[in-house]
Amino acid sequence: MSTLTTGETASPPTRRAAARRIAWARIGAYVLLSLFAIVYVGPLMMLVITSLKSMPEFMKSATALPTSLRFENFVEAWEKANFLRYLTNTLIYTVSATAIYVVTAVFVAFPISRGYVRGAGWLLTLYIIALFLPVALIPQFQLMLNLGLYNNPVGYVMLFLVNPIGIVILVNYIKTLPLELDEAAAMDGCGYLRFVTSIVFPLIQPAIATIAVLHAIGIWNELILPTIYLTNKDYYPITRGMIVFQGVYGSNWPTLAAAVLIMTLPMLVLFLVLQRYIVSGLTAGAVKG
């Protein structure tokens, strides 16, 4: 696939040939992407279609197109699920947990990746083993209870300060930063802390943006942990607020779908914003000069 080249600075005699080659490949790329996109957009449309139906309409046929667009579902979802209050809560939990996590994660991943701490290899193995660990719901609950962090927003946030997936991503990504960078910075009189915060953080923006998005989404969509840990309704995140649409033998699917769409909007916005950082790729020019 010659489209991997990043420029079209071919020499004049071959430019036309090169242009033809690239045009085919471009079309091919679009076709392929569009095929994949259909497989994605098609099912996602199910959610949108469902959110615009009325309940009896949905019960009759879950998959037919709605006869009229019932936007009231969204209004109903917003009001019944107490969205404003719960959205605020979720925002606070997500932003604080993700921010603290990202900062601490870089300070863990960097020395491991560089080997600046003794036993870096063992530490990495420990984090990788953490990926395999079973979900310890009840022991974790008992620990939090004994620490007095039950039914407490601070305790709830604490549950989300660890994510070994992020460490793995960061460690591997930091490897692409040349070692000479560290040496050069130290020779310029840069201390470790300042080096990491001023130079490393910006250079690994793609990785940071990636783990921030993944982590934030995990917290945002979490349902079982708030059910157990946050029993005071003032602390509820929006996933708890959606229970009003879920029945025993049936849920109010259209309103639930509308609620889901409202709920995922902030995460979608976050992703769109952070996409820019994920593809910013600054290291390519880092070592020049």
Partner: protein, 309 residues
């Protein structure tokens, strides 16, 4: 250990001190409870505070691994888990790489494509399951209608175990492809453009450029994705819960453990809690993942050292 350039004496402690908060969180929030699970596995704990807890040694393990037909069912689930892992990992890895390559070019509208492919991740497992349950509705759902045009009739998720599992594999890949893609995209960013220039000037074809420039320099992302894919698919069970439910012949280990620990194996809601037994089962799964994951990680590290030096 690399040479540390940022100071000596007290200043040498900086990395350790700054690493400490993150590491402490990990110890307390993750490792501690996991070790407690290990202890639980040797007891008959129900998980209920104040109930009597007896030390029963390896009895839970014996029950999970060697007792009656149930153990044979567990091994069948183990095999299914490995099959699931294999298919999901190979396909998700390849497609993720393909998509990342496609989307990494200067085409108009790549932002939109990237977002579309990442949407399932944003929505989460329950919604992913809901969407596909609707889409795969056998009685007139979209896919049923399309296949109907070709005269094909299928029960999809309600069909025979092999078919149901194939669909779960499909949805699992569909759901997580975005993550694999994003990690590859981030990795592709680290490859300097001038390397491609030099390759082209040397007359390399697209495939050769990929093999000699892209693939080696993508090694860190390749490692990340392989590891996360393998581990993730070995432990996955949420989509099974949402798409199929507890059906004989389709369970994977992760689901079995969840179901047995929280009494979800039949329609009854008052079945027993068996935290001790569930703990033992999850430790078994942990060892399975360990036995596969650690060698994979070791092999990947060695390969990285060979390629990138």
């Amino acid at each position: 250990m690399n040479n540390y350039h940022f100071g000596r004496g007290w200043a040498r402690l900086a990395p350790y001190l700054l690493l400490l908060p993150g590491f402490l969180f990990y110890l307390v929030i993750m490792l501690g409870p996991a070790i407690a699970t290990g202890f639980y596995s040797f007891t008959d704990a129900s998980g209920i505070q104040g109930a009597k807890v007896n030390w029963i040694g390896l009895e839970n393990y014996r029950e999970f691994l060697f007792m009656g037909q149930a153990s044979r069912d567990n091994y069948a689930a183990l095999v299914r888990t490995l099959i699931f892992c294999f298919f999901v990992t190979t396909i998700q890895f390849s497609l993720g790489l393909l998509l990342a390559l496609l989307v990494n070019q200067r085409l108009r509208g790549v932002n939109i494509f990237r977002t579309i492919f990442f949407m399932p991740v944003i929505l989460g497992a329950v919604i992913q399951g809901l969407i596909w349950s609707l889409f795969l509705y056998p009685l007139g759902g979209p896919l049923a209608t399309i296949l109907g045009l070709f005269g094909i009739r299928s029960e999809f998720l309600g069909g025979q175990p092999a078919e149901a599992m194939a669909w779960v594999i499909f949805v699992q890949i569909w759901a997580n492809l975005g993550i694999t893609m994003m990690i590859f995209i981030a990795g592709l960013q680290t490859i300097p453009g001038d390397l491609y220039e030099s390759a082209r000037i040397d007359g390399a074809t697209g495939w050769q450029a990929f093999r000699n420039v892209t693939w080696p320099l993508l090694t860190p992302s390749v490692n990340t994705n392989l590891l996360l894919n393998i581990i993730g698919s070995l432990q996955a069970w949420q989509l099974f819960l949402v798409l199929i439910g507890y059906r004989n012949g389709t369970q994977v280990l992760g689901y079995l453990i969840f179901a047995q620990g929280f009494g979800q194996t039949s329609g009854s809601v008052t079945s027993a809690f068996r935290q001790g037994y569930a703990a033992a089962a999850s430790i078994v799964l942990f060892f399975l993942v360990l036995v596969i994951g650690l060698p994979v990680q070791y092999f990947l590290q060695q390969r990285e050292r060979r390629i990138l030096g």
